[in-house]
Amino acid sequence: MNRNYDVIVVGGGPAGLAAALEANKNGAERVLIIERDKELGGILNQCIHNGFGLHYFKEQLTGPEYAQRFIDMLEGTGIEVKTDTMVLSVTPDKKVWAMNTEDGYCCFNAGAVVLAMGCRERTRGAISIPGERPSGVFTAGTAQRYINIEGYMVGKKVLILGSGDIGLIMARRMTLEGAKVLAVCELMPYSNGLKRNIAQCLDDYGIPLYLSHTVTDIKGKNRLESVTVSRVDENLAPIPGTEIEFDCDTLLLSVGLIPENELSRNAGVPIDRRTNGAVVWQDRQTEIDGIFACGNVLHVHDLVDFVTKESMIAGRAAAEYVKNGGFPETTAENTVSLAAGNGVSYVVPQKIAVERTEKFVEAFFRVRTTYKDSEIVVRADGEELNVIKKSQLLPAEMERVVLPKAMLQKAAGKEITIEVRTKGDN
């Protein structure tokens, strides 16, 4: 078995599929996708609802259909796939150690590695919900897998904590399957899900949304019996006396996603503590030469279409890297670093090599809280380079600014910050 590859992609979800296809298209001859599940497609396989693909395919697809389109594209490309294979480590010299029941423990050599492992859900432990520990408490994605793939119904009377999209989608899904969804509770004073999901998943079925509420107690000996919910103050602390007790047998948690970077960390890839993903250049190369990262392992995206676009950037760059035998070193004078300013929680990419920029670089970022009638200000060393008016900004919606090459050349060697300016700041 030849174990030398031009590009090895770790993860066969939407990010890995797009990166592998784009690497192949750009001249990487031997491309390998390693996937730990029994099939390609990643989390899309359990996202059976529609709404995917409007940006990329210009039509409404379900998750499995979106995945199938990319899986079909693999045909005839020569891209190799190993499913049911667990990557155990990636080294800085781009050796990929993996294991499966056919090859055993083995090592593959790569010219470039693309990390596309996606993200994991935060659990009850991660947010320290007090109370007893009965069965019936699930992360929303786990419940989604049980119902949509394995065919097990997880409960009859359901409370959902967290109004992210997965929580909203599961509220509708549980209702369609005959469960009674009592309410969705959200710690923040605003929802973290798409507005259309509030409309079509909650409003359509008369499911109430309690903003500024959180779970403060869980009761049940074997199975969950009741959940106590309290209103929170502006510091997000529960207010005594506001408790509501819900009799229910199931609690679903949709309380955030965390990029899954164990492999990246072990490879020595520096991680940005704000995104919980790698620090990357505009072509999604990490701080380790020839190791790239894209999709939800880099930062959590709202839409799979954006994951696809980002992963195409990484796949193309990985192929270029292999073809050219590496990228020339970028000097500090030729580097622009991007930083999150006032009101912005993170920016991706964190670094830009000016000489490797073609026409422009798109910077993606999230705001910290909701803003109305504000401005996005792009600034280098105090000088305003661009100001964009925004009628509304939400933390749940990833924002984007375009940084043209001319602007980057002017800012070479400096730091560009992206910040929110509200009327009061003027």
């Binding site: 029994k38 059976i48 529609n50 379900t62 499995p64 793939i149 065919g151 259309r196 409003d203």
Partner: protein
């Protein structure tokens, strides 16, 4: 009376304002689809239904399905009853019709993956 309707056609989720006495009095939409959606919401709301049916002989025990168009909103739970009573056998191709002309709507229920 003015009604506010969140458009569900795309992830943007425009808040469309429409007068239920005069459907031409509409604002807040980001594209023509928003106008159409808001009008439909007042006249005859429709939705795409996505779910799963039982499958035998495939990698998993469930096959994801969807209606290949919108059906009247009031038929969603009727549609779910039919879906729950349906069982298919592998192989199935993505796009294959699972239930034809569901509830006389002219809309088919189709598979959304190969299995």
């Amino acid at each position: 009376m003015k009604r506010e309707i969140t458009c569900i056609v795309c992830p943007k989720g425009c808040l469309v304002t429409i007068d239920d006495a005069n459907l031409e009095d509409v604002s807040g939409f980001g594209c023509p689809k928003g106008i159409e959606y808001a009008k439909n919401e007042l006249l005859h709301p429709v939705r795409t239904v996505t779910s799963t049916v039982k499958i035998e002989g495939a990698l998993h025990d469930r096959l994801p399905v969807r209606t290949n168009g919108d059906i009247p909103k009031e038929l969603i739970f009727e549609c779910m009853k039919l879906i729950r009573a349906t069982k298919v056998s592998a192989p199935v191709r993505c796009g294959q019709v699972i239930i034809e002309d569901i509830l006389g709507t002219g809309i088919d229920l189709i598979a959304t993956r190969n299995a």
